[in-house]
């Protein structure tokens, strides 16, 4: 089974580095999956083409307490949901990229998003304590998702 774990984010923007941190955590524990740090969501196209499972890990800012881990299963088809807004001058958001991948005909079979609520997105290195603590929880969640999907494959 082809699995991609994509850590979205920029480790130089504090808690925006949560995704890359979780990708590294998973990579150390499960060598059979491809684990990548991806700064621009559009670069998921190509990286996740035709994968059986793509787990995208990203920092969130939903108003939940910092470090809250959330799982959103974007499923295996249908509507990827609405995007954050119209086109940016410089990039694309995850849902839009998934819709584009589907339009292009090479989407991953299943997409699961694991979010970690961030606290600080200012320039700088290092995660906030609550987010740092949540990396293990999120990483273990990703490993469980991979195991569950693998066992059903």
């Amino acid at each position: 089974m082809e699995v991609l774990v994509a850590g979205l984010g920029n480790e130089y923007r504090s808690d925006d580095g949560a995704g890359p941190a979780v990708a590294a955590y998973v990579s150390e524990r499960m060598s059979k999956v491809v684990s990548k740090v991806i700064s621009e969501p559009l670069d998921l196209i190509g990286a996740w083409d035709d994968a059986d499972l793509a787990v995208v890990v990203d920092a969130t800012r939903s108003g939940s307490p910092p470090g809250t881990v959330q799982l959103v299963d974007l499923g295996t088809g249908g509507d990827a949901g609405s995007s954050a807004g119209p086109m940016s001058s410089h990039g694309m958001d995850l849902r839009r990229v998934l819709r584009l991948a589907r339009a292009m005909g090479h989407p991953p079979r299943r997409v699961v998003v694991v979010g970690i609520e961030g606290e600080n997105f200012a320039d700088g290195l290092g995660l906030s304590p609550a987010v740092e603590f949540a990396v293990t929880e999120a990483g273990d969640l990703v490993l469980r998702v991979i195991d569950e999907v693998s066992s059903c494959a």
Binding site: R13, G46, M87, M92, A103
Partner: protein
């Protein structure tokens, strides 16, 4: 989203992308039929990096500054390497310089393919994004993806990975790719060239707003090639200086309403960097095929219409594919892949052409090779005043448009520049107020 507005004003608010955080906003205020205020605020990550680099070893800027932008890391790496090598009195070999240029071609291919097909073209079809565009013209979006993949592949082979290359170091590369590794890129690059030619024809058929602006063009110029990774800085008004010269000339002012600095030549004159400038100042250095492509697309030797920057990018995309093929054909693996660059006290300057314009760095090193100060001037900062000026002209010329349409056109005007609003995270609000 719509702002609360006073009774005597009308407000249109177009919300852009907000993946995580970062702010960019545009305010256009119209009073009695005249555009009074145009304010473009853009958050700039390089400012943090300038402080962060202080006290770091002279070998670190290529890796650290590559993280400023996920779309143009090679530009940051190259300008950083040039500046550090300048400070240390070291020149790289011709083979290393050629490999650096090849890597940079990969970034141009990747970035231009992205901007043309995914970010800019949807504007010309009235589409919100490339997803909608794919519904109208799937082949065009597929072309963009195919070309971008070849750029990614080139970045992976030369730079070690497609995003934030890890193979670049001060003095050259950690490892030089073999001829065979590069040879495997020839066929994909040939296909990318053919595809880029098709895309150039495609964009030439777009309907462009009528506007001509007498820009002060500034770009690199190299005596032998279309400037990408090195050269002197020239302008349409006769400027001809090295990287130190442009760093000395450009004065950045902080404007209270914005956290972005505004760059002026000599502290006074706004100027334009990027595709239109490179094209105007280096047209004669394009290959015959790239010039033919430009002519067929309706371009002269100078393009003053900012909305046609997409056409110029398409011509540059053709050039970058051709140039990558030429460099691969002539490739001699540098041995060793890097020259030694011992740290020493000094000041160094480096400038290169990021896909969206001139990017220059300045570093001051102490006797241990530690960085005492850093200055990074990205193209978006240099173009801010021109962006505002374009917006003023475009808004003034189109005040009869309904707010929504005018807001769209203003956003498109900003998008002409492919600005790096905040490289990894960004947000653009466009507000038009009529009083």
């Amino acid at each position: 989203m719509t702002h609360q507005r006073p009774a005597d004003s009308r407000t249109v608010h177009v919300e852009g992308l907000a993946r995580v955080e970062g702010e960019g906003s545009l305010l256009v205020e119209v009073r009695d039929g005249t555009v009074e205020t145009v304010e473009l605020e853009i958050f700039e990550p390089p400012r943090f990096f300038e402080a962060f680099l202080q006290g770091r070893r002279h070998t670190e800027p290529p890796d650290i500054t590559a993280r400023i932008c996920g779309i143009c890391p090679v530009a940051y790496q190259t300008s950083a390497c040039l500046a550090i090598e300048d400070a240390c009195g070291v020149s790289v070999t011709d083979q290393i310089a050629a490999l650096r240029r090849l890597l940079y071609c990969g970034e141009w291919i990747q970035s231009h393919a992205l901007h043309i097909h995914f970010l800019h073209a949807p504007d010309f079809f009235g589409c919100q994004d490339a997803v909608e565009l794919a519904g109208l013209d799937l082949a065009a979006v597929q072309r963009g993806l195919e070309i971008k993949k070849v750029g990614n592949h080139l970045m992976e082979v030369v730079g070690g990975r497609a995003i934030h290359p890890v193979n670049v170091r001060v003095g050259g590369f950690y490892k030089a790719p073999s001829r065979e590794e590069l040879g495997a890129l020839v066929e994909p690059l040939r296909r990318a060239l053919d595809t880029a030619l098709t895309s150039a024809q495609w964009v030439a058929g777009f309907e462009f707003p009528e506007i001509e602006i007498d820009y002060r063009f500034v770009s690199l110029r190299h005596p032998d090639y279309y400037a990408i990774e090195s050269g002197r800085v020239v302008s349409s008004e006769g400027l001809d200086v090295d990287a130190k010269g442009i760093s000395d000339l450009v004065v950045e002012d902080h404007v209270a309403r914005s956290n972005a600095l505004h760059a002026r030549l000599g502290g006074q004159d706004m100027y334009l960097t990027g595709p239109l400038s490179r094209y105007a100042l280096n047209y004669d250095q394009l290959t015959p095929l790239a010039r033919e492509t430009a002519t067929a697309a309706g371009l002269g030797t100078v393009c003053n219409n900012p909305f046609k920057s997409i056409t110029v990018r398409a011509v540059e995309l053709v050039y970058a594919c051709e140039e990558a093929l030429r460099l691969i054909e002539a490739y001699e693996p540098p041995d060793p892949p890097a020259v030694a660059v011992p740290g020493r006290a000094g000041i160094g300057y480096g400038a290169s052409e990021a896909p969206r314009g001139l990017l220059f760095h300045r570093y001051e090193l102490d006797s241990d090779g530690l960085i005492r100060s850093a200055r990074i001037v990205p193209p978006t900062s240099q173009n801010l005043l021109c962006m505002e000026d374009d917006l003023r002209r475009v808004a003034q010329a189109n005040l009869s448009m309904p707010d929504e349409e005018l807001g769209w056109l203003c956003e498109q005007t900003v998008r002409n520049y492919d600005p790096c609003i905040s490289c990894a995270t960004h947000f653009l609000d466009v507000t038009v107020e009529r009083r």
